[in-house]
């Protein structure tokens, strides 16, 4: 079953801009222009795009906080426009991770509060909250007032909050913002575990490396439109991005056929840019061996999602 379905979503924001004291002018921001995608059960799905691309707007539509101008969306078969209450019961959401908490309550107290608003009794909510603060690695900080929290602590608390009612679909808008490397690794592991246990996850992030390691499939949007979609691997292949091969040669100062440089050990490095790494590697190794060069090490550098992003978005922006 498709857990999340977005069909042709569009959203415009109208803003009155004041010109002088008495005149106003209506400015229309077309935030989302016909975005469609589907997310399968148990999948981790990434939503990428530059600032202002319309990611948060799309996510708010999916979690019932925004009504689209046109298009439809379904969460676990429920219509987000017509059945918002049903949708809200089964989704857990992180929006603006640094907001949404009472400053004069502790982290735990905030979690229990939301748990109870979701209908849990106090004892269960407390138990669940304690479990979650360990899961997100908030530890003892959970017992401090939120007003003393750092950005990362608030982000952890937000993630815990999104899980408090054990939702089957989890929607995360930049959940790892402000997290240190160890914490974000833990959160990634947590997200993996959640997906393995059958939860469906929609995530946005500006950390391409993270998305590449986490997501089964991604879409990239720019200016409210989808510009590319597929698995991270497919995206790279679609663009014919280059691989880089670096071969360290121990017994040469100069090789004329290739681009070269000197590495930190003082050895010569042969550099090759190619679309077909397997064939090129065999070819170049054969050539080097013919001339009796001794090979120190070989590195094949894959194109990253970041490059895909730069290409797709940068190209668009260049237009």
């Amino acid at each position: 079953m498709k857990e999340i379905i977005a069909k042709n979503l569009t959203k415009k924001f109208k803003k009155k801009v004041r010109k002088g004291i008495f005149n106003t002018e209506e400015r229309v921001i077309h935030a989302v222009k016909g975005v469609s995608f589907e997310v399968n059960h148990g999948e981790i799905f990434g939503l990428l795009g530059p600032n202002g691309a319309g990611k948060t707007t799309t996510i708010k539509i999916l979690c019932t906080l925004l009504i689209p101008d046109s298009g439809e969306a379904y969460i676990h078969g429920y219509n987000v426009i017509k059945e918002p209450n049903k949708v809200r019961e089964i989704i857990g959401v992180v929006l603006a991770p640094d907001k949404g908490f009472y400053e004069r309550l502790t982290g735990i107290e905030n979690l229990v509060y939301y748990g109870r608003l979701y209908g849990m009794n106090k004892k269960d909510a407390y138990k669940r909250a304690e479990e979650l603060v360990n899961l997100v690695d908030l530890g003892k900080d959970a017992y401090r007032f939120v007003e003393e929290y750092s950005l990362g602590m608030k982000a952890k608390l937000s993630i815990a909050k999104s899980l408090i009612h054990d939702p089957s679909i989890i929607i995360l808008d930049e959940p790892t913002v402000g997290l240190d490397p160890i914490s974000s690794r833990k959160i990634r592991a947590l997200i993996h575990d959640l997906a393995n246990s059958g939860k469906t996850i929609l995530i946005t992030s500006h950390n391409m490396w993270e998305v590449e390691n986490l997501c089964n499939r991604v879409i990239m949007i720019n200016k409210g439109e989808i510009v590319s979609q597929g698995t991270p691997k497919e995206l790279k292949e679609k663009l014919n991005l280059s691989y880089f091969i670096e071969i360290e040669v121990l017994n040469a100062d100069k090789i004329s056929d290739y681009e070269t440089s000197i590495n930190e050990k003082g050895n010569l490095v042969v550099k090759i840019e190619t679309q077909k790494p397997n064939e090129s590697l065999i070819k170049v190794l054969d050539k080097l061996r013919e001339k009796n060069y001794i090979i120190g090490s070989i590195k094949v550098i894959e194109p990253t999602l970041e490059e895909v992003f730069a290409r797709v978005i940068g190209g668009e922006k260049g237009n």
């Binding site: 004041r18 004291i21 400053e103 007003e147 003393e148």
Partner: protein, 261 residues
């Protein structure tokens, strides 16, 4: 040096004034408020006495409520400004920018002061014409000048409120007692002669009482030039406010961080 600061002050003033003017409903309401309240108590007075009381008495309260309105606007907005600033971390930027925070507070107070002045101009004009006809209009315009001077020491009190908001964090909780004490003791809605001795002393030691007194006495023509002798003493509030604000800024915001809204 001073020129730079005046520039900054004008820049903030412009932004804040634009902000206020955008909210025409609130401005309208602030003008409406003193008129409505004074008419309500006038109606109560009529009911109690069985006949309409003299318009001069209504005018007395009208002026008082107008100044009360100005007080509420001014004290509430500086407290809120601090809170909003802490909440949005804007204050941290401001402290790291080469702008003297006092300039900022001053321009915020000035903005609400200008708003207050506008309220007074409108309401006072209506009141004077209704009560005294056109003959006292020249007095009214002179009273405007005095009001400006009398409002300046209030800036000092706003600084103290701002400082208190830094520690107390709840703007309403801080500005409320100030409004309460000022309203009660400053002879705004009734003469302070009927107050117990201690409250009378409190009222006479704060600038609000004098603002109301100067304005009324000038409009009604019993102004005594000697009463201006209090002004230098009132300006101590300004200095006092600056010192207190500086102290709390240095000892709380900078030491404890802007955490803890």
């Amino acid at each position: 040096m001073v020129r730079k600061e005046i520039n900054q002050l004008l820049a903030i003033l412009e932004v804040e004034l634009k902000n206020i003017l955008r909210e025409r409903g609130t401005v309208g309401f602030s003008i409406f408020f003193p008129i409505l309240i004074s008419l309500s108590t006038y109606s109560v007075g009529t009911g109690i006495l069985g006949k309409p009381p003299s318009l001069e008495l209504w005018f007395y309260q009208l002026i008082g409520f107008t100044i009360l309105m100005i007080t509420i606007v001014m004290s509430a907005s500086s407290a809120w400004y601090i809170r909003q600033g802490l909440l949005s971390r804007r204050l941290e930027y401001i402290f790291s920018a080469p702008v003297n925070p006092i300039i900022i507070i001053a321009s915020i107070s000035l903005t609400s002061g200008i708003l207050g002045f506008g309220i007074f101009l409108t309401v006072g004009l209506i009141g004077v014409i209704v009560t005294y006809g056109l003959s006292n209009l020249s007095n009214f315009f002179i009273s405007l000048l005095i009001l400006i001077i009398a409002l300046i020491p209030i800036l000092g009190i706003n600084l103290i409120i701002a400082a208190a908001t830094i520690i107390g964090k709840e703007p309403e909780a801080i500005s409320q007692p100030v409004s309460a004490i000022v309203s009660t003791t400053s002879g705004l809605a009734y003469p302070i002669t009927i107050l117990p001795f201690i409250l009378k002393i409190i009222g006479e030691s704060m600038p609000y009482y004098y603002a109301a007194y100067y304005v009324r006495s000038i409009i009604e023509g019993y102004f005594n030039i000697l009463s201006l002798g209090n002004l230098p003493f009132l300006f101590l509030y300004l200095i006092f406010g600056f010192v207190i604000y500086r102290y709390f800024e240095n000892n709380y915001i900078r030491k404890e961080g802007a955490y803890g809204i």
